[in-house]
């Protein structure tokens, strides 16, 4: 079974600064996907960024980037130029590789979440 651990229950950052959220995971799989989801007070789950384990290049999406260390099973999220709208709960999540006829069925395993507060 896979496990995902987010060791920072809460983080805070000043507007326009950079913050890094940590995530570690444990798996015996070689092919998988990793995700960061954002959950603002509206409760909506919003995909921030996705990383495919077979890709060595770290994923980036505008101000969001990841540091993916496969051997260390680490997947941190860096938010640059933080904005007030980034205030939210952030979840790290793992999905086994999905392939036709397989049995992983695309189930997600989530970490406990990190509450990020951006201060003006």
């Amino acid at each position: 079974a896979q496990t995902v651990t987010q060791s920072q229950p809460e983080m805070s950052v000043q507007e326009a600064e950079t913050v890094t959220l940590s995530c570690t995971y444990d798996t015996s799989e070689n092919n998988y996907y990793l995700f960061w989801y954002k959950q603002p007070p509206s409760r909506q789950m919003i995909l921030v960024i996705r990383q495919e384990a077979y890709k060595q290049q770290n994923a980036t999406e505008n101000r969001f980037s990841v540091n993916f260390q496969k051997a260390a099973k680490s997947f941190s999220l860096k938010i640059s130029d933080s904005q007030l709208g980034d205030t939210a709960m952030y979840f790290c999540a793992f999905m086994k590789h999905v392939f036709a006829g397989g049995t992983s069925y695309g189930k997600l395993t989530f970490g406990q979440g990190t509450i990020l507060t951006v201060h003006p």
Partner: protein, 110 residues
Amino acid sequence: DAGITQSPRHKVTETGTPVTLRCHQTENHRYMYWYRQDPGHGLRLIHYSYGVKDTDKGEVSDGYSVSRSKTEDFLLTLESATSSQTSVYFCAIREDREAFFGQGTRLTVV
């Protein structure tokens, strides 16, 4: 939002009563999931479906059952609600390598 609608959005019910939550999708997705969200636990998988009438248990399935009689609807039933089932429930679908979530249902069992 991938056309996912959960109902109801909020519900308060008494211990011992049956409760059914509905997830409706409009885009013919094969895979559907029910998760619950609790502080300190993130989201945990309750049940999932990989086709009409094809369902299986997740990691926290005790006390829950599901049904999927047609592609667009995935129902989650609490046969006899308990206070430990007070939670926020999310339905999700999978499209390729990405999951999309409904708006969530806040269920309170008193």
